[in-house]
């Protein structure tokens, strides 16, 4: 299953970054596919990006809401929020585990042999702050003389933007290097920090800072596709704890907002058919159909 997931992640990363004419054009893709929402975090200023980044677009719309209203355009971000909501209500954070290119990069970095560390649970709440303040509130309220706000998350934080767009654009257009300043070096430091952190800990950006992951996390109870715990079969052996890349203790919190439905707990850890995938409450891909049901382990023996 893990091989299939890696293939899906790779194919999706190539699909949302499918324009490879940039070495010749020296700029970004400008075709009509850019009205399609990228399900994962993928900067639309990346030269190869074929889709728009929902977080970038949402900030753009929030930042320009005053100007749009003055011009009689009722742009409240409904198209972007609607698209994100449909994706979130269907898949939730499964997108983080199966589709997001930046998630794939972090997973590959984590494979570099080193001492591994856990991430304190309290840091998980930071991403909700980034979503609320950096993506919505600050672009909406802190405006210049013309009434236009800034893209706070893209400009000051997003390491995916630096990696996928900032650095490639500097390579494609070397003249831009004369314009880089403190903001770019600040973002470069954040990127390097997350690269090192990704080697040492599993998916640190997804867990602590990703506003898109925070948005999808709101659908933990209402999403169509989710993992379900069969408490009757669960022996509380805790085999699902160490395999989870997001630090979820699935048998204790099956509806944890951090679960990215990577299915590692279901396919690699649980031997008692206690975890299954369900669509709208109907079981799908239950292990009962794939391997023999084993009797409940004796707690005394455990």
């Amino acid at each position: 299953m893990e091989i299939i997931r890696k293939w899906v992640q790779t194919i999706m990363a190539l699909l949302v970054n499918g324009s490879w004419s940039f070495p010749f054009t020296r700029t970004i893709y400008q075709g009509p596919l850019k009205v399609v929402c990228s399900p994962g975090l993928n900067c639309y200023s990346c030269p190869a990006a074929t889709t728009y980044c929902p977080i970038g677009s949402l900030q753009q719309l929030m930042a320009g809401i005053r100007l749009a209203l003055e011009n009689g355009q009722n742009f409240f971000g409904l198209y972007v929020i609607g698209t994100m909501g449909v994706l979130g209500a269907t898949f939730g954070r499964l997108i983080c585990g199966w589709v997001c290119p930046f998630g794939l990069i972090q997973e590959l970095l984590h494979k570099i042999p080193s001492r591994k560390f856990s991430i304190p649970q309290k840091l998980n709440y930071l991403k909700y702050g980034f979503l609320f303040f950096f993506v919505i509130l600050l672009p909406l309220t802190v405006v210049d003389d013309f009434g236009y706000g800034q893209l706070w998350f893209c400009k000051y934080v997003c390491p995916a933007g630096t990696l996928e767009a900032g650095l490639p654009m500097l390579m494609l257009q070397p003249a831009l290097s004369q314009t880089i300043g403190l903001v770019f070096f600040n973002k470069l430091t954040i990127l390097i920090g997350f690269i090192i952190w990704s080697i040492l800990a599993s998916r640190p950006f997804c867990r602590t800072s990703c506003p898109l992951g925070a948005f999808y996390a709101f659908f933990k109870k209402f999403k169509l596709v989710k993992l379900r715990l069969n408490e009757e079969n669960c022996t509380k052996c805790e085999a699902c704890h160490p395999v989870c890349p997001m630090g979820v203790k699935f048998n204790e919190a099956p509806e944890d907002a951090e679960c990215i439905s990577c299915l590692k707990c279901m396919t690699e850890a649980c031997k008692y058919d206690a975890i299954h995938l369900e669509v709208a409450g109907l079981p799908l891909g239950s292990q009962s159909g794939m391997k023999t049901h084993r009797p409940k382990r004796n707690n005394a023996a455990a």
Partner: protein, 75 residues
């Protein structure tokens, strides 16, 4: 052969039994299929359609085809 005085009672019993079976089936079905995700999807789908109708798609496209250098920390 059912005698005529007993016929209404038998029919009533059968009707009640039918209603009981249908109610049980409906309860069973509601336990299995979760409707909340579909309602949530529908709400966001309507939001998206409203956004399309207000012309927000063109605005998104305009923004997405331009390189926002200050957005990526350059310039």
């Amino acid at each position: 052969m059912i005698k005529s005085p007993q016929l209404p009672i038998v029919l009533l019993n059968r009707c009640l039994l039918g209603i009981e079976i249908m109610t049980a089936a409906r309860e069973n079905k509601s336990k299995r299929v979760c409707v909340a995700p579909f309602i949530t999807i529908l709400i966001f789908l309507i939001m998206g359609i409203v956004g399309i109708m207000t012309g927000e798609v063109n605005r998104v496209l305009e923004q997405a085809v331009q390189v926002c250098l200050s957005c990526i920390g350059i310039g």
